[in-house]
Symmetry: C2
Subunit: 262 residues, 2 copies
């Protein structure tokens, strides 16, 4: 039996703009941008990219490009002109990227990463690494904030569902507790969505926007669960793969989602 | 059949802090502060209070008090020292209040009212006037924003559920449409909650806070559906009762909630 004082916090913040209302109580921040920044970062590090340098602005990314870096820049769902890539996860599944350093800026995700970077341990979460990440979070057992990237400071469905899934899994261990209504609400949105994730997200404004951009394949990839046993962690401003080897190679945690949600 | 262009917007904004991200597209704003400002205002005008002057600060309320006004001031769930009332709905169900003007300031609700006051028609919503309000909103058929008061700029469950119920009812007429994920998410939170509203809200941080303050009776009152056929509307900065007489005295709209949620 865990008493309240043993329990660590798990909370979900919906947007970077609300982060100042939450920060200060947490040792660990999980940044989420399911469509597509954190899915792409997780995928890239899993497939062999060595480092990702997240930067806030296109100008900073341009400065790195001028120095010869591989640069990826996305705004409003599209590759910014003059850059090598945007934030499609598929762009990083390439033999030629192995061992490379990539500089990345995205509409929402990189801002969230930089916000959280100052004091806490910062890792990346997405649906692709969900159970692997949850297992590590439970073992780590720290006051944990899920910071959703949202869409231009408004809440978005896919990040809220992913955050709700993490909160639900951690709370079920009874080693975590939550004080915020945002966390309770995210948990209930996840529970509404888990049986039919893709049809649920059909209602998402962000997904509608991405479909217009013809990146249906990316959306399907980003909404697929547990494909990538990798946790990106921020070290000195650079994202690298966390050295984590769970005893079970099959993840012990099984976050309930319908198995054929895609 | 209504085409997209015929349809009016219905969106839900979770906090006053996010209002600037939404404003500008709407003709009508419904301010919600279920626990307890908008429930108290609706109740007060229904039971005979003639006018309510919402003010943002305790200092403004004090200035009115010095001029001899009946003043109500709530901060953090409690009556502010030196004031006649806080925001308990029961305080306004009094023969002596009939025909009176009341000056009111609350932690979250009055700020939301003042934010929205500039350009739009502004009305008050709560669970007590839910179906009556929805019927009027459908007849009015304008671009409608539900502005939840939240709790100190964070989302709260009870306002989100109430906003989700309004959005759900308006969208089901097919005469309204929604573009925002916040609206979709609110709708799904309402759908999760409607079968067991009170037990759902047991998870709410705000309700926990209010229980500590021993206002269980107020909470129960504010979570009771359709007790007060009254819509407060802001006219020249003053809240008065909207002159609305639906043809059906039994509300035509029935928002599904479990009948014995209390």
């Amino acid at each position: 039996m865990h008493t309240t004082s043993d329990k660590k916090l798990i909370e979900v913040c919906y947007t970077p703009g609300q982060y100042p209302l939450y920060e200060g109580k947490f040792d660990l921040v999980v940044v989420i941008d399911v469509l597509r920044a954190t899915s792409a970062i997780t995928t890239a590090l899993h497939y062999g990219v060595e480092k990702i340098i997240p930067v806030g602005t296109v100008e900073e990314a341009r400065a790195f490009k001028a120095k010869g870096y591989i640069t990826a820049a996305e705004r409003d769902g599209q590759v910014v002109e003059g850059f090598d890539f945007g934030n499609s996860p598929y762009a990083f599944m390439d033999e030629k990227m192995k061992g490379k350093t990539v500089v990345l800026t995205t509409t929402n995700g990189t801002r969230a990463i930089q916000l959280a970077a100052s004091k806490c341990t910062v890792v990346m979460g997405c649906l692709n690494n969900l159970d692997f990440l949850c297992q590590w979070l439970i073992e780590r057992h720290e006051n944990t904030l899920v910071l959703a990237s949202g869409w231009k400071d408004k809440v978005n469905l896919e990040d809220t569902i992913c955050g709700g899934a993490i909160a639900n899994t951690l709370l079920e261990t009874r080693r975590f507790r939550s004080n915020e209504d945002s966390t309770v609400a995210a948990k209930f949105i996840y529970r509404s969505a888990r049986e039919h994730l893709l049809s649920f997200l059909r209602a998402s404004s962000h997904r509608r926007r991405l479909i217009q951009l013809n990146i249906q394949q990316d959306v399907k990839y980003c909404l697929t669960l547990n494909t990538v046993p990798c946790i990106p962690v921020l070290k000195d401003g650079v994202l690298v793969r966390l050295d984590y080897h769970p005893v079970n190679t099959e993840y012990a945690i099984k976050t309930p989602f319908s198995s054929h949600s895609n």
